[in-house]
Symmetry: C2
Subunit: 226 residues, 2 copies
DNA sequence: AGGCTAATGACAGCCGCTGACAGTTGACAA
DNA sequence: TTGTCAACTGTCAGCGGCTGTCATTAGCCT
């Protein structure tokens, strides 16, 4: 639907390789500095309370430069998030094709959470990313964007699932429905985790697994029968 | 989590009763006029392409007045949407308590779509509301807000379901999980409907019913076994 | 009629964001 | 090395969403 312009992102690997030229390296440094400064300010004093001017002052570039790296204030918040999502999609594509849909989805998320740590650290401290995640959950404007992003991923995931099963997404409703239900639980899980105490990655994995285990039972006709 | 301030909304009935004094009636008229003008402009020339100044010029009030009735530009878009959501929640509360959770949810949505027509018409033409729905689905910024609103409703609905079953939402994960899965499918359904041709209310009901019927089958372990 | 108060208008100003233009600095070839 | 080109950046001006403030208007009540 809305693919990013080809030159704006590497679009290949979750952790972009270190670029060759001096110019490219300089760009990366500026971008990373802006990113870190932004996330640090956002998480410490709030998203809306932080002006773009504060961010650029911390990095000592012009406001215009900020908007050349990030289309808007929000985009800075979700730069890392996007890496994680791509990681998930890749993991899903790598699942053995004989797995049932739900099992593949579940395994892909949990695997993704296992391996992203390293990729993230190359850009910002993982702990900062976790605080950012919490910031998103507690800031309505950011939560809204998060939701929209997640439904954009949904369509892509639905197509992957359909392909695995040899189905047409437009002919058979099950791929989209399954992914929609799965995504609903994922979003709810993020909310629960963000509201909780333990902000570790392991905690995230535990909560995720626990909620997913309840998906099928929760849809059973009569809960009291079980 | 974030209840609106008591005086900002009637918060009682989906279709607020006609107020007594001349002052109140005048306020209602101004608000409705702003609402209609806004939706009309939004749906005809796009949300971002419409400035608040254009809206207030059409109604001949000051810009400041617009922002006294609506906290921001978005809120005008979702004023009617909110009526519909409240209607759904009320329908759900009215379901017989012996119904299984999913069945109650399904019946509540379909009933809501049956009865809202009249309530809406008191404020704006139903056809305009339907176009607005489509506008939301095709405008990223609005879709984002829509998503956030829907997860705010989710928690309330989960508590209703839990109460029906005599459960504690924090102790038993199934209410939240079931509602999350259900909501995921609902959102996806709205997206499908908005992308389709038939913008009628009946079409909405048909699509909704069809997608919900697929929820349980879609989560079955092996689709090929069926 | 006249005082009280809610609703409105007018104005100034902040902040996010964009277009245009000019200056600077790496890249690359002669 | 040097000159040219293209990319990156800073500066400035300006729009649109949104808010605070204060004076003005207009329904309400005695």
């Amino acid at each position: 639907m809305t693919p990013p312009p080809p030159e704006s992102k590497p679009a290949s690997s979750p952790a972009p390789a270190p670029p060759a030229g001096l110019r490219e390296r300089k760009k990366r440094r500026t971008r990373d500095a802006l990113l870190r400064a932004a996330l640090e300010l956002f998480t410490s004093q709030g998203y809306e309370q932080t002006t773009v001017d504060e961010i650029v002052d911390a990095v000592d570039v012009s406001q215009r430069t900020f908007f050349r790296y990030f289309a808007n204030k929000e985009e800075a918040v979700f730069a890392v998030q996007e890496m994680v999502e791509r990681q998930f999609v890749e993991q899903l594509r790598a699942r053995p094709p004989h797995e049932p849909p739900l099992q593949a989805l579940r395994a892909a998320v949990l695997d993704a959470w296992n391996t992203i740590g390293d990729s993230i650290e190359q850009v910002v401290p993982v702990e900062l990313h976790m605080r950012t995640f919490q910031l998103i959950e507690s800031t309505p404007a950011l939560l809204a964007v998060q939701m929209r992003r997640s439904i954009e991923t949904e369509e892509e995931v639905a197509r992957i699932i359909a392909a695995r099963e040899g189905l047409d997404v437009d002919a058979d409703p099950r791929p989209r429905v399954a992914v929609a239900a799965f995504s609903g639980v994922m979003r709810m899980t993020g909310r629960l985790w963000g509201a909780g105490e333990d902000l570790s990655v392991e905690s995230m994995r535990v909560v995720t697994a626990a909620q997913l285990d309840e998906l099928v039972p929760a849809l059973a006709g009569d809960w009291r029968a079980g």
